[in-house]
């Protein structure tokens, strides 16, 4: 192997040598990482590998082109339909209504007023279509959970415990029994302890014990709650 390190000064070489050894992660970090990885495995089969960059770009461009074409086509159809019907409506109006007399006719309502629907308009307003949230594949779901919990963990690491609670709540709302629920609840206990909300922290720790009696995070959660209490 070519190891041409002679271009490095002795100081830098010494620094690099000091960095060469890989520090061992604490047991809690290790346990958390493995628990998460296991959760991902239990969530289901892995998504197929991402295609190579070039084909991915090509695929994206094809999709973009298809969407653009679709939009153009529907816009053209809409414009034509609207244009034709408006044209016929104008024609009908000129055919059926006599020309307005020059004097003594009550003023027609202003177009703006005519455009607004009256309260007794018989046509009910069309209800907005409720689009259900897209169903995530297990792999995507765990990824979404990870992304959602990331700011909570970062906030706890920065000891900005108040900032950790909203993402925790959001995760609980979206992924109540999610794969990372265990980690979320552990973070909740830590955040509550950090905020000095000892009673809530104890309650959260008790709930954690009840829900995850075999959790690898249980000792850490118990210790956090007792320290905060």
């Amino acid at each position: 192997m070519t190891r041409s390190r002679e271009t490095l000064s002795p100081e830098v070489r010494a620094l690099l040598d000091a960095e060469r050894d890989i520090p061992v992660q604490p047991d809690t970090v290790r346990a958390r990482a493995i628990a998460r990885a296991r959760a991902a495995i239990e969530a289901g089969p892995a998504a197929p590998p991402v295609p190579a960059r070039s084909s991915r770009v090509a695929l994206t461009m094809r999709w973009a082109a298809a969407i653009a074409l679709g939009c153009l086509a529907s816009a053209a159809v809409a414009a034509m339909t609207y244009g034709v019907s408006a044209h016929f409506a104008r024609q009908n109006a000129t055919l059926t209504t006599p020309p307005a007399p020059a004097i003594a006719t009550p003023k027609a309502p202003a177009p703006a007023a005519a455009a607004t629907p009256s309260p007794i308009d018989e046509t009910p307003p069309s209800r907005p279509r409720v689009i259900p949230p897209p169903r995530l594949s297990p792999a995507d779901a765990i990824r979404a959970e990870l992304i959602l919990l990331r700011p909570a963990r970062a906030a706890v690491a920065r000891e900005n415990f108040a900032a950790a609670l909203p993402p925790i709540a959001e995760h609980a709302r979206r992924f109540k029994g999610g794969r990372l629920a265990e980690e979320r609840e552990a973070l909740r206990v830590k955040a509550l302890v950090g905020l000095g909300r000892a009673d809530e922290a104890r309650r959260a720790a008790a709930a954690f014990r009840a829900h995850f009696p075999h959790s690898v995070l249980l000792p850490a959660v118990g210790q956090m709650a007792s320290t905060g209490g």
Binding site: E19, Q25, R38, A40, A46, P49, R150, A154
Partner: protein, 188 residues
């Protein structure tokens, strides 16, 4: 004649579980390496757990493509590099906020403290090298991977790998010299 059902061609759930277990076992064994590599590639300590998890997900997705006869670390490095680079691009797009590292708690023995400071200095110096060049330097000068293998893992021509390595070393030298000067000024 022995009839072969088409179902026999499909991987059985047991096989999948086995491959998942093998992947998990590898990840568990190389966890420290993954964490350190991500740190060397500029991931903050508060984000390293999440990105390590993404490395696992990517490793699991591509597990079928991995050749077990080859060393795992360069392969893992390739995954970690892509994930770190994607994360860096995303972070650059977002509104930047202070990257506050949690402080160390508890007393440290002198030796450990010194080693920790040295490591912190290396990470800080590496941080000043653009990621594509830093990846080459970390792989070659810290992980002892040959330049040819580096080029292959990072999907770059060999010549590019050499030129990135040369430049990265110059940048590292300059960064360390600057940091030492700054430290001396602080001491005075």
């Amino acid at each position: 004649m022995v009839g072969v059902s088409h179902l026999q061609i499909l991987p059985s759930p047991a096989r999948r579980v086995t491959s998942d277990e093998a992947c998990l076992e590898t990840f568990q064994k190389e966890l420290d390496y993954v964490y350190r590599t991500l740190r060397r590639l500029g991931t903050s300590s508060s984000e390293v757990e999440d990105l390590a998890q993404e490395v696992f997900l990517a490793l699991r997705r591509s597990w079928g493509e991995y050749d077990p006869d080859r060393p795992i670390r360069p392969y893992l490095f390739g995954i970690a590099f892509r994930i770190a680079a994607a994360h860096q691009r995303k972070r650059n797009r977002e509104v930047a906020f202070g990257n506050v590292e949690p402080g160390d708690s508890g007393p440290w023995p002198d030796e450990a403290l010194q080693s920790k400071q040295t490591r912190a200095m290396v990470l800080a110096a590496l941080e000043r090298i653009p990621l594509p060049r830093r990846a080459v330097l970390v792989m070659h000068d810290l992980d002892d991977v040959s330049v040819a293998e580096v080029a292959s893992v990072l999907a770059i021509p060999l010549f590019t790998a050499y030129s990135r390595l040369r430049k990265a070393r110059r940048e590292l030298e300059a960064a360390v010299r600057r940091m030492l000067r700054e430290r001396e000024t602080d001491v005075r």
